[in-house]
């Protein structure tokens, strides 16, 4: 049981306490993680009510499924995974339509979406040391940038990204391909 003044608990210890029904531990996790989560979600959704509800759902989910944390990856990453999916869940509930202009992609990718994402991630992570990736990403058109952000940086699946952005899954795939092509060109 955690108490006032009990030194610094790690996130993992707090999460174990939450799994044991300790509400003060949840409060600590909330104090640590709600601020950045709120900002990060705000950058993906302009509607404060939806962001509010998504954060609320996230910490309720942390409370109810703390025992399902596997210990692979940081607790913050785990919370983010829940948070962004709750945001998508809120979109679905609010029947939100895409705010970005639909891009009529051409060309059919025959690979599975996972391969695309894996290669894209590799691409980004490889080049992140080299400095001009920032320029390359910023140089993308807004709709391509949004797809890169959702799939590569936020770690969403094609389907989830399509819900977040309000565009069909196929469009997510084709945009991702285009983005990869453009990034590669810009970086070589």
């Amino acid at each position: 049981m955690i108490r006032e003044g009990d030194g610094e608990w790690t996130d993992e210890e707090l999460l174990a306490a939450v799994a044991d029904g300790d509400r003060l531990a949840l409060r600590r996790l909330y104090e640590r993680h709600a601020p950045w989560l709120r900002i990060r979600l705000q950058r993906r959704c302009a509607d404060p009510t939806i962001v509010h509800d998504a954060i609320q759902d996230t910490f309720v989910a942390v409370w109810r499924s703390a025992d399902r944390y596997q210990g692979s990856g940081s607790v913050a990453a785990w919370i983010w995974g829940i948070g962004v999916r709750r945001l998508i869940g809120q979109f679905r509930r609010n029947a939100r339509v895409g705010t970005l202009p639909l891009f009529d992609g051409t060309g059919v990718d025959t690979r599975r979406p996972d391969d695309i994402l894996a290669s894209a991630e590799e691409l980004v992570l490889e080049r992140v040391e080299h400095g001009n990736l920032a320029g390359a990403i910023n140089g993308l058109s807004p709709e391509l940038r949004a797809v890169v952000q959702a799939t590569v940086l936020d770690g969403l699946t094609t389907r989830e990204a399509s819900r977040l952005l309000g565009i069909p899954p196929g469009t997510v795939k084709t945009r991702m391909m285009r983005a990869r092509r453009e990034l590669r060109t810009a970086l070589t």
Binding site: M1, G21, L24
Partner: protein
């Protein structure tokens, strides 16, 4: 209604008399109901909590008597009662248990009720375990859970049966500060067999033994009753009712001191032990 008048209340269970014409008046402040286990404290408290009816005698709450359904309802609304063993649904969490009692106390609006439940959980310092099943709690935590439900709705009469049993010294202190924060406008009755609780908390003390009131007055008056009857020496004494070795290694006696004995200032515990000791020698208190 911060006033309870108990008038000539008697109760027997089968053929065993448990209370014999007990009269006492409880007003604002903390009243200690002091007595050994089995003295009838719990039965008296249950009668005051409208759980049991006396065989004879009456209990009045302020200007109300529990004679009509309406009066009874009004009395119960303003009453908090923490039995020694409240009985729990073991799979309930602390929150669910107290929330359920709040429903029994007719706090029907969910949001307001949950706020009140959180408040009393905070008062007894159980926030951390609010969502743990009661069966996983220690005895001290269960005691605090029992006390917390009695605080729901800030009733003006609070009846607590052995609330400090099973608490460690730190929790005991915390409980004392909680009770002393209750203010003077409430009547709190604390049934206990521990004189420390009475010394620390009570403005009024009623000693009950064998179903009768043996003392009714202020804690200093109970101590004063032993004035001239407590002395110290370096060995056993024939006139002592009770003797124990105090912290300094000397013998402390209560009873009839020999002439020239080193009399000391009595404590409340001395007064209480003298009262009980007399009884064990077959003398009756006046």
């Amino acid at each position: 209604m911060a006033m309870v008048d108990v008038d000539a209340v008697s109760k027997r269970f089968g053929r065993t008399p448990v209370l014999d014409a007990v009269s006492m008046r409880v007003g604002p402040g903390v009243t200690g109901m002091l007595g050994p286990n089995g003295a009838g404290k719990t039965t008296l408290l249950r009668i005051m909590a409208t759980v049991l009816a006396p065989d004879s005698g009456t209990v009045r709450f302020g200007d109300r008597s529990p004679t009509s359904a309406d009066a009874l309802h009004a009395i119960r609304r303003d009453l908090g009662y923490a039995p020694q063993e409240p009985g729990f649904y073991p799979d309930f969490t602390v929150f669910e248990f107290i929330d359920y009692v709040a429903i029994l106390k007719e706090l029907d609006d969910r949001r307001a009720r949950h706020d009140e439940v959180r408040r009393v959980i905070g008062l007894v310092g159980l926030d951390e375990v609010a969502h743990r099943p009661i069966r996983k709690l220690s005895g001290g935590m269960r005691r605090r859970t029992a006390v917390a439900q009695a605080l729901l709705g800030s009733p003006s009469v609070l009846l607590l049966d052995e609330p400090t049993a099973g608490l460690d010294p730190e929790q005991r202190l915390r409980f004392r500060s909680l009770l002393s924060e209750r203010g003077d406008d409430r009547a709190v009755v604390l049934a206990t067999h521990q004189t420390e609780d009475v010394t620390a908390l009570c403005q009024h003390v009623v000693v009950i033994d064998h179903g009768s009131v043996r003392f009714d007055g202020s804690p200093p008056a109970l101590a004063e009753a032993a004035r001239g009857r407590v002395w110290v020496s370096d060995g056993p004494e024939p006139g002592a009712v009770l003797t124990w070795i105090d912290g300094t290694g000397r013998h402390r006696h209560i009873g009839d001191p020999p002439s020239g004995a080193t009399l000391v200032d009595p404590t409340l515990e001395d007064g209480y032990l003298l009262l009980m000791g007399r009884d064990s020698r077959g003398e009756r208190a006046a």
